[in-house]
C-alpha cells in the first residue's frame, strides 16, 4: 500500500508521455473509437431485428458467441494479419481496436433488440394504424421508449471495454494498462505502479458508469414521465428475451 501511495503522489507519475494524463487520453481514445465502431455495426442491426422480429435467433446467438471469445486470444490471433496490413499501426493499435470492437458488439446488439422488442405492442399497432411508416414507427415510437434499455447496453459495453483495453499493453499499446503491465514486469520495484494502475482503471470505469447511469435515468423519465423510482428503471432494463434463446 505504501508503494502505491508513493507512486500516486510522485509528480513524475503525472508528467509527460508516460504519465497518467497522457495514458488516460490514450485509454479513452481507444474506448471511444472502438465503442463507436461497435455501435455503428451493432445498433442498426439490433434495432432492425427488434422491430421486424426476423433473424433474432441468429443475431443473438452470434452475439453471445462473441461474449465467450477471450480478448487476449483475439489480439494474439489478429497480430500477424494486422502487421501484414500495416507495419506501423498493426502491432499495438489495430489488434486492440478490433478486440475491443468484438467485445462491445454483443451488449449493444442484444440490448437494442430487447429494448425495441419490449415496447408495448399496442402502441406500435396504434402507430401503424395511424398510418406511420415502419421507419417512422421505429424512430418515433420504439426508439424513444427503448432508449433506457439501449443505453444500458451501451453502458455495459463501455464498462467492459474500459476494463479490458488494459490488455492492449501486451502488444505495446499505451493506455492505463501500461502501468499494470510495466509494474508487473518490474517485479518488486513495480508494485506501486501495478496497484496504482489498477486503481486508476477501476476509478475510471466506475466514474463513467455513474455518468451513463444518470443519462439512462434521464432517458427513462422521458420515456415514462411517471417513472420516479429506481424499481421502474430496473424493470425497463430487464426486458426478458424470447423463450428458447440461451
Amino acid at each position: 500500500m505504501n508503494e502505491t501511495i508513493a507512486w500516486l503522489t510522485n509528480p513524475a507519475t503525472w508528467q509527460g508521455q508516460t504519465g497518467v494524463p497522457w495514458r488516460l487520453v490514450e485509454h479513452l481514445a481507444i474506448v471511444g473509437v472502438s465503442v463507436l465502431a461497435a455501435t455503428l455495426v451493432a445498433l442498426p442491426v439490433g434495432l432492425w431485428i427488434g422491430h421486424t422480429g426476423r433473424g433474432a435467433n441468429l443475431a443473438i446467438n452470434l452475439a453471445n458467441i462473441g461474449r465467450a471469445v477471450p480478448s487476449y486470444a483475439v489480439i494474439v490471433i489478429i497480430l500477424p494479419f494486422s502487421l501484414a496490413f500495416s507495419r506501423d499501426l498493426g502491432l499495438n493499435v489495430i489488434p486492440t481496436f478490433l478486440a475491443m470492437v468484438l467485445l462491445a458488439i454483443p451488449p449493444i446488439l442484444v440490448n437494442a433488440y430487447a429494448g425495441v422488442r419490449g415496447v408495448d405492442r399496442d402502441l406500435v399497432e396504434a402507430a401503424r394504424g395511424m398510418g406511420l411508416r415502419e421507419r417512422q414507427i421505429l424512430s418515433g415510437v420504439e426508439v424513444p421508449l427503448a432508449a433506457p434499455v439501449i443505453v444500458g447496453g451501451f453502458r455495459t459495453a463501455v464498462l467492459n471495454v474500459i476494463a479490458t483495453a488494459t490488455i492492449g499493453a501486451v502488444l505495446g499499446f499505451g493506455g492505463l494498462g501500461r502501468f499494470i503491465l510495466d509494474g508487473r514486469a518490474m517485479g518488486l520495484l513495480g508494485t506501486g505502479q501495478l496497484i496504482g494502475g489498477a486503481i486508476l482503471v477501476s476509478v475510471l470505469a466506475v466514474g463513467i458508469d455513474l455518468l451513463l447511469a444518470v443519462v439512462q435515468r434521464r432517458l427513462a423519465r422521458r420515456a415514462d414521465p411517471e417513472l420516479t423510482d429506481a424499481r421502474g428503471l430496473r424493470e425497463l432494463s430487464e426486458v426478458p428475451l424470447p423463450q428458447g434463446l440461451p
Binding site: L79, R87, A169, V170, G172, R178, L181, A185, M186, G187
Partner: protein, 301 residues
Amino acid sequence: MRLSRVLALGAAMMVAMSACSSGGGSKPEVKIGSDGFYESKLVAEMFAQVLEADGYPVARNLGIGARQVRQPALEQGQIDISPEYVGSGLGYYDKAAPTGDGPTNRQLLAQVLADKKIQVFAITPGEDTNAAVVRQDTATELKLAKMSDLAAVQDQLKWGLTPDCEANPLCKDALESYGITFPPKQRETLAACDAPMAEALNSKGIDFAWLCSTQPAIAQFGFVALEDDLNTQPAENMTALVRDDLLAKVGDKNEFQKRLDGVLATLTTEALTKMGVEVAVDQKDVADVAKAFLTAQGLLK
C-alpha cells in the same frame, strides 16, 4: 531339529532383510517447483522424473510464477528443489554481481545461498541468456553480425524493448555501452522472450528484438542472434537449487547430487533449443518431452 533350524534361519533372514530396508529408510517426499515458463518447467520435470525413478515421492509445484514468487517459496521451504539460471539468480540478490562467466556466477550464487541454507549444484554446459535478435534480411542488408554493428544503423531500426528497460542494466546500460543513444528513435514496448515479440519481429513490426538464446522462434523463423561481443549479458547456465534440510533427510547425499548433476550435464544449448521447439512449436507435453530426452540419454532406468 530341522524345523527349528529352518525357523531360526527364517528369523535371521527376516532380521537381516528388515535391517537392510531400514538402512535405506523410506525416501523423503521431495517438493519440486519451477518458474512459469516452459524451460524451467521442463528442467524441473526432468528432476522429478529422475527422482521418481529412484523411488522418491515427488510433489510437483511447477509454474509457481516469476523468480520474485518462486525464490521466496524456496527460501521458506514451500518447495525443496528448483531449477535456476546462475546469472539472473545471482542478480536477484545482488544486481551488480553477475558476470559473463558461468562458474564464477555459480560460485557467487552459492556463497549468497549458503546463508539461506540452499545448495547450488553443478551448472549445465548450455545457457539461456538474453539474445539480441534481428531477421535474416535485416542482418544481410545492414551487415549485422555482432551487437557492436548496431550503433551505425540504430536510427533505421524499430526497436522492440522490454517495459523495464530503463530500470534494467542488462537492457539500457548494455545498449548504451554499444553506442545506442537511449531512448531510441523508434521503439515498441513488448515483453522479452515472449510470443508477441517474436511475432512482431517476424512480421516486420519491429526490427530488433530481445529474445532468449534457446527460444524456439529463432530456429523456427530463421532469425539471427547477434553476438554479444562486449559480454554485457550475464552467463546464464542452469543449475539446481536444493534445500539443506531436504539433503539432510536423503540417505546418500552424494548419490542424490550425482543424479541431478547427471541430468544437468546433458543440457547443452542445442538440446535446450531442440526441446523448446518440441514444446512450444510442436505443442508436445512437457512431461513427454522430458521423458523422451531422459530415456535417450539413458538417465531413466
